[in-house]
């Protein structure tokens, strides 16, 4: 069966510090991968998605970046965090190439920038 891992679960970082959040998927090959950010109790904002190694599409211009160094690894980074980067970050994967396919979510990372 497929599983998706995210770490760390919670993170408190000062403004201006770097960020690295990691997501890995097990039990599947060549998944579509997604990074979302969610404000408290609200919907999901798509940040990045990837359909293959080294292929990253950015949806929202900001100080975040994503990389996919391996087939089942997706990393969200920042060189200098802003207060507005605080939020709940979710990684997800889907099997198929189209929007009707189910997205499976990781447990999320709660990021607080102080």
């Amino acid at each position: 069966s497929q599983t998706i891992h995210q770490w760390p679960a919670t993170l408190v970082q000062p403004v201006g510090s770097p960020l690295s959040l990691e997501c890995t998927v097990e039990g599947t090959s060549n998944p579509n991968l997604y990074w979302y950010r969610q404000a408290a109790g609200r919907g999901l904002q798509l940040l990045f998605y990837s359909v293959g190694i080294g292929q990253i599409s950015s949806e929202v211009p900001q100080n975040l970046s994503a990389s996919r160094p391996q087939d089942r690894q997706f990393i969200l980074s920042s060189k200098k965090l802003l207060l507005s980067d605080s939020g709940f970050y979710l990684c997800a994967w889907s099997e198929g190439p189209v929007g009707r396919d189910t997205q499976y979510f990781g447990p999320g990372t709660r990021l607080t920038v102080l």
């Binding site: 919907g43 798509l46 359909v51 949806e59 979710l90 189209v98 929007g99 009707r100 979510f105 999320g108």
Partner: protein, 111 residues
């Protein structure tokens, strides 16, 4: 810009009552997915509807896709405290990889 509008944004009712959550758009979608999310966790898929007019039932939950595939509803019968959570709808198109997400309905069922 494609938008999915969910209503109501927040709903607090007593155990045993019925409720309906709506998800509306001016765009046509190939599919409409409903997810439920508990605090501190990722969303979990409840159902996917793909055919206009389609109705799916999941125990006390009934999902309907509009005939024109622009809207959907979630009806819960005899709500239970375990139904509490954030309900998210998401529209998919076969032409791209992304889902268009609604802002969510926060549901609280009081015992």
């Amino acid at each position: 810009t494609q938008l999915l509008e969910q209503s109501p944004q927040f709903l607090s009712i007593q155990e045993g009552e019925n409720l309906t959550v709506y998800c509306n758009s001016s765009s046509v979608f190939s599919s409409l997915q409903w997810y439920r999310q508990e605090p501190g966790e990722g969303p979990v898929l409840l159902v996917t509807v793909v055919t206009g007019g389609e109705v799916k039932k999941l125990k006390r939950l009934t999902f309907q896709f509009g005939d024109a595939r622009k809207d959907s509803s979630l009806h819960i019968t005899a709500a239970q405290p375990g139904d509490t959570g954030l309900y998210l709808c998401a529209g998919g198109k076969d032409s791209n990889y992304q889902l268009i997400w609604g802002a969510g309905t926060k549901l609280i069922i009081k015992p």
